[in-house]
Amino acid sequence: MVEVLKRLTEARGVSGNENEVRAIILELAAQTGARVSVDRMGNVLAEKAGRPGSKKIMLEAHMDEVGFLISGILDNGMLRFKTIGSIDQRLLLSKRVLIGESRIPGVIGVKAIHLQEPEERDKVFPQKQMYMDIGTFCREETEELVEVGDYASFDSRFVRFGDNKVKAKSLDDRVGCGILLELLKETHDFDMVACFSVQEEIGLRGAKVAAWHIQPDLAISLEGTTCADIPDVPDHMQTTRQGKGPAISFMDNSSISDRGLFRRMVETAESHSIPYQIKENVAGGNDAGCIQKSRGGVPTLVVSVPCRYIHSPSSVMDLKDYSDTLRLMKEFLKGCETR
C-alpha cells in the first residue's frame, strides 16, 4: 500500500496532463480484475459489476495535481511560467521542478537577498516576476529542451519520516487514488465504478463528464484535505487533525453532503470502532460538487485523509489516517450490500 502511494505521488499529473499517473493507475486497476477504460477527457473508469439490476455506486478520486505551464522563453534561456490550480506564491521560491515529458530539472529563481532593496525583502514577489532556471545559457539552447506549453511539476520525493508520517507532493489527491485502487480489489453485489478523474484542480471538469456517463445512484469522493493542526491556528479553525482518522464532510463550498449518507458513514465508523473526525470547516470544493448536480441529481459524500501543507511540494500525511480511511470505506461498502 505504501509502495503504491510512493509510485503515485512521484508520478507527475498536472491538470490536463495526467499521463504518468494514469499509466500507473491503468496498470494497477487492471490487476484487480476490473473492467478498465479511459474516456475522451482522460478519466479512468474501472468497473466491477454486481448482480444484474443492482444499484450503481461511484467512488471517485482525482488524478491531477497543481503545477505549472511554461509560458515563455527568455533570451538568457530562462523560462516564464503560469500556475495551474491554486498555489501559494510565497512557497514557490527556490523550489525544484521537472519540466516537460523528458523531466528536465529546473529551479524557480528570483534575485538573491543581497541584491534586494530593503523594502523588497518584506514583500512577496509576484509569480510573474519569477522564472525557472534550467541551467542553459541562451534561448536556442533552452529551445532544444523545452517548448512553450510544456507542463512542469514540483520535484519532490516520497519520504517516510517521524512517527509513521510521509512527506510527498500531490497527496491531494493521490491518497484518494491509492485508496480507490485498494477498494477495487473487492467485489460486491452492487455495481461499483471507480472513477479516477482529470482536471479537478481547475474546476471539477473531469468528474462532471464522468458522472454524466456513469449515472450513479450514489457517489463518494475520496480526497486529501486541508489540515491546520499547526501552531497559532485557534482550535476552531484547524479544520482537521492529523492522526484522528478519516475526515467526514458535512458540507464544503461545492456541496452539502447527503444527510443519510453522512449518518451512515459516521455509524459505520462507530460500530466498527474506526477512528474518524468530522471536518470542522466549510472550506474548498471538490468533485462531489459537480457529481451531485449531474443529470437528475446524485446523493454524495466526501471522505478525506487530513494532509498538512497541501498544494505544496511537501505535504505531510499520517499513514494511520490513510489505513483507517481505507478500513472505513471497506466497511461502508460491505454495508451497502443487500445480501
Binding site: M237, F250, I256, R259, E280, V282, K293, G296, G297
Partner: protein
Amino acid sequence: MKELLANLTGIYGPSGNEQRIREAIENEIRDTVDEIHTDALGNLIAVKKGSGKKIMLAAHMDQIGLIVTNIDENGFLRFTNVGGVSPFNLIHRRVIFGNGTAGTVGYETEMEDMKSLKRNRMFIDIGAGSREEARKCVNIGDVAAYYAPMAECNGRYFGCSMDNRAGCAVLVEAIKAVKQSPNELVYVFSVQEEVGLRGARTAAYSVVPDIAIALDVTPTGDTPKTVPSAIRLGAGPAIKVMDSSIIAHPMVKELMIRRAEEAGIAYQLEVLTAGGTDSGAIHLSREGVPSGVLSVPCRYVHSPHEMVDSGDLEHSVELLVKILEKGI
C-alpha cells in the same frame, strides 16, 4: 394565506435539511395533484397532468442557516454560514436547531473595531457549560436557523425565511386555486437554492419543461436611503427582467405582463443587480428552457425579520393562476 405563511415560516428547513418543510408542503398539496415524489437531492416534484405544454413552477423551500464546525471546551459552538448570512445580522440573534435546541449568537467582545467582525470570531451559546453538555444536544455539522415567529402589522407580515416560504405559500395557494389548465403543470419545491441553485438544476433535468417560472422574493428599494431599486412593498408582484443569474426570456416575461394586464393586476418590473434564483439554473438545463421569475417584494432579505405585504401575496397568487389557466 396568513395561516399558511405563519405555518411555513415556522418550519425548520435550512439548505440540505429540508425534510420537515418538504413534508409540510407535501401535506398541503398532495390531494390536489396527480403525482408527487421526492427526487435524489430532496426536491419535491408534483404533477398536475394536462395535454398541452409543460410548465415548470419552482419555489425553493430551503432557508439560510448556520452550520456548527466546532464545539469548544466551554460548550460554545463555532459555526459558518449556509447561504448568505451577514455577521452583522447575527449579533445576539436567537437561533434554533432541528431538535429544538435554542441558542443566541455572541461574538468575541475584545474586538478592537466592529468592522473586523467576522463569522470566525462569533459563536452560538446554547447555555451549555462544557463540551460534553453541548454535545448532548448539538453535533458538528448540525444546522441552526433563525428563530422568529411571524408577526403581522398594517397588512405586512414579518418573520424569518420569508425567503422563500413566501414563494412557497404563493405556489401552494395557486396549486389549490387552479381549476382547469390546458397545460401540463409540474410544481417543484426545490432544495439548496441558497447555496447555489443546486436542487433546481437537477429537477429541471428530470422534468424537461417547455417553459419555467420560478417564485422567489426580491429586495425592495423603498426604505430610507437604501440601494436604489424601483421595487416597492405593496405595489404588486414583480416580474423579473434580469438578475445576476438570468435574463428573463422575452416570451415568458411578455406572457406574464400580458396576463397581469388582462386581469388588471398591478405589477412591477424587476431588475436586480445582485443575486439570483432557481430560474438561473433551470434556463440552462439541457438544450435550454425559456424561463422567467415572479417575485414577491420583500424588505430586509436574509435577516431574521423579512417583511412582505399581504396584498402582494394575494396578487401574486392571482397572477400565477391566470398564467397557469390559459394555454402558453
